[in-house]
Symmetry: C2
Subunit: 285 residues, 2 copies
């Protein structure tokens, strides 16, 4: 199976598990339940949870064992998007062609949907875990550390505070924590689900971290208004405030190479992860 077909199957698995994990439509308060379901349904490519399942298989395990981790990572990611869109953050009214949660349901619900999704992410990790509490404990630790003040929230704080900053150290901090930490956690949690050794968890985490860094640079390149034609200070910190597009491509290429190099010697199939990293890079080189 090539990478495209593989991830298309993965995506269906993720969608089904996400639907299963959400509060049932109509659960009181119905407005909150509707907004939670909306926030997840308008979601995107399901990249992080697909990587999580692929990591379980690359570790030589069964993707089914990583499903709670995949769902939790996507719920966590969705909460960060809902909060990033708030008026006091990026003030975005549209995401992927649809109204953002606060635009559709009001600002208070925007805050509360994010809050509920974060709690739900942790709940999903332990929901059916009585038979293997050790694995659930490790998942909670990985996700909480990636999500917390030393992870995604820390990255977001520097991003909000330092918009327009051009020092390499701040940029590296924001890319690592706002973006790469959750990719890393997705891969590590998938590996843990797949019963990986500590060494394999580390290896897949390294792939995830480099892939996340490449992803963020590629995202900045694709979002740029037009190469070589900077049009004033950006709203958000992007790597193109620091690098030329050519330099950014070099960094993305290097991180993609490091991600792929990390895949050597895994017990299960690594081809999908390798293909995905290559195809991601091909969008900008």
């Amino acid at each position: 199976m090539d990478g495209d077909a593989y991830f298309s199957v993965c995506r269906e698995r993720v969608e089904a598990a996400l639907q299963e994990a959400l509060p049932p439509a109509g659960q009181r308060p119905a407005r909150l339940t509707g907004a939670i379901r909306y926030s997840v349904q308008v979601g995107g490519k399901r990249l992080r949870p697909m990587l999580c399942l692929a990591a379980a298989e690359a570790a030589g395990g069964d993707w089914r064992a990583a499903l709670p981790a995949a769902v939790a990572v996507e719920l966590l990611h969705t909460y960060t998007l809902v909060h990033d869109d708030l008026p006091c953050m990026d003030n975005d009214l549209i995401r992927r062609g649809q109204p953002t949660v606060h635009a559709k349901y009001g600002e208070a619900l925007g805050v509360l949907v994010g809050d509920a999704l974060q709690a739900l992410a942790f709940e999903v990790l332990v929901r059916d875990a009585a038979a293997d509490p050790g694995r659930a404990r490790r998942w909670v630790s990985e996700l909480a550390l990636a999500a917390g003040p030393a992870g995604v929230v820390g990255g977001q704080v520097e991003d909000v505070a330092e918009a327009g900053a051009t020092d390499p150290d701040t940029l590296a901090f924001v890319h690592q924590h706002k973006t790469a930490d959750l990719f890393r956690a997705a891969l590590r949690m998938g590996a843990i689900g797949g019963g990986a050794s500590d060494a394999v968890v580390e290896t897949l985490g390294a792939y995830g971290s480099h892939l996340g860094l490449a992803f963020q640079i590629i995202d900045d390149l694709l979002d740029a208004p037009g190469e070589g034609t900077p049009d004033g200070p950006p709203d958000e910190l992007t790597c193109l405030t620091l690098w030329t597009p050519g330099e950014a491509r070099e960094h993305a290429t290097r991180h993609t190479g490091q991600a792929i190099d990390a895949l050597e010697g895994l017990p299960g199939p690594a081809t999908p992860l390798r293909d995905l990293a290559r195809r991601m890079l091909q969008r900008v080189v």
Copy 2:
């Protein structure tokens, strides 16, 4: 030891453990770390974590075993206060005589401090739990269910949506989920930490739930501008939109009695929990 002395000792234990659990001062981003530490330091009576430690002892266990649960419950509670104070919620600038987090650090930090505290709460539950992952898994489940869409967030959504509503069903929903669910979780998590049987976990949870309901009614009574002199529609749903002060006192007395009745036959000392419920009620009767 009487209840006052007992909880004064409990409080010192909680404060020390909270300090230990927070990100160390100066951790990058320093602004986030400072705001997190501020939000916890301006906190209040530490009622929920003290109840958590007392539950471990009432279950016949060691309070030390419940410390991570106590800290996590207080961090979770603090996050809900920080988000409730936001401009899009209650828009409070002062809490306990000090500027609220968003008033001091800006609205974006208000959102992000709350987000970080929630992640931190779950991280604390699993931090040193490798030796007993089963207990950590149960703690995460209790806290996540109490915090999520069927718990505190659900209660807050109905509270925000239904301010000024006077139907008993909505009031009961808000009191149970916005307030009592976290009291219940604090007691159950303490009991689990203390090695309680399922029956004792249930018993202490029932005490917590009734105590939480009494607490909310008493809080509404103490916040009322002047008994018998309603001064226009309140900003928030309070039981005094539905009940006379006398009726509210009756409900508080009934829940306090039910809380105390639930304490029969526990393996450890229940006197502090009994005293606390009585003293709480004495503030309004």
